[in-house]
């Protein structure tokens, strides 16, 4: 059995749990990190340290999204400080932190990497509970992407299809944190805050989701222990 896996590792809590989950299943993990012009480099630094800590290989790709289109890329746009998903005409709106096409781009590179090194699985730590209403975190997007793999790649055509695995997709943040605790994920090395300060801002929606998750899991967040 081919047990190589590509792990999309951001330095955040979810991708760290995903990495440790894949390791616990016996995969040899190749972490893929992206330097894509995010507001701060802290999460990339965390991702590098996490990959090393998990004794996994890592590769950083520098990509450019010069058209921006997101408050995470454009310092002129404020980052939202509420977890309440904004609504537009009665339906949940997509927040300004959405980056056009981001997960599609990340998966495309992971797919290329997987085909080239003959890995059969790609892991991504998305989840659709307690989330920011990003369209590229939903199950239906991953189902659609799987069809792209079977129709548009050499391995797909040759019926040696690469699989995208989303082990966290049905879990809440609290469940992810509990799973991470079981897997000994070093939470102190993860970074969720949209700001790149020395300490988490505790105000941005990413900090708030994290705080809510740790509180519900009944586990203290090591980043917040003073």
């Amino acid at each position: 059995m081919n047990k190589k896996a590509i792990i999309l590792l951001s330095g955040g809590l979810d991708s760290a749990v995903t990495l440790y989950w894949a390791k616990s299943k016996g995969y040899k993990c190749y972490c893929l990190l992206f330097d894509y012009g995010q507001r701060h480099k802290k999460e990339i630094e965390c991702a590098k340290i996490l990959a090393k800590k998990a004794k996994s290989l890592s590769r950083i790709l520098k990509i450019s999204l010069p058209w921006k289109g997101s408050s995470l890329l454009d310092k002129k746009i404020n980052i939202p400080i509420s977890v309440k998903v904004p609504r537009c005409q009665g339906v949940k709106a997509i927040p300004s932190t959405y980056i056009p096409g981001r997960n599609i781009i990340f998966l495309s590179f992971a797919l290329s990497f997987a085909e080239a090194i003959r890995a059969r699985d790609i892991f991504i730590g998305v989840h659709s509970q307690d989330y920011s209403n990003y369209p590229d975190c939903r199950e239906e997007f991953y189902r659609a992407f799987r069809r792209v793999i079977s129709a548009g790649t050499k391995t797909g055509v040759e019926k040696q299809e690469i699989k995208i695995k989303t082990p966290l997709i049905q879990k809440t943040k609290a469940q992810i944190i509990r799973l991470g605790a079981q897997l000994d994920v070093p939470f102190r090395l993860t970074w969720s805050c949209y700001q790149g300060g020395r300490h988490p801002c505790e105000r941005c929606d990413s900090c708030q989701y994290r705080a809510k998750g740790f509180a519900e899991a009944g586990i203290p967040d090591p980043l917040l222990i003073k």
Copy 2:
């Protein structure tokens, strides 16, 4: 009507015809060029000149595919010099010039660009006649990618879906050349050869497909006029 379009422009003949086709339909064209470590820079130079000639905007993205996995990226692998598609166990094989995930990566960036600048159409000059058996040039791949757009992007969720247009997909190389001639495409500025010499090598399969297309169209290839 929003008439902005993203054109994936490689510097080859097909993408040049696609650019001129989109222009003839009244689109304001934003050409997207990739410097992805191809064996030579000649096609990028041609693409830049073509975009300028067509009075279109262009943006070059540098991306890295360090895992290679293709004879077009890895100088240690020879480029095939036959148009005869190799066969494996009776079925057409995919040649060594296939680059894992290339068109998926290109489309992902085009999609991100389109969402950010509110363009509603992406043009790509693929065709599945007289082609090299690349899985990411087939209609079924584009159908699958369209579903990714509707499920995984903000514009898709908001029913303002970005469309991928493949105006050449059903055409033969000769038909593409005839269409290009009608549209006054400056063929002398296009580059198809996998090698980056001063003149086309006339041996690689890309050169051979081009020669066959010009011959069938009954049009001389300006690159080969001595």
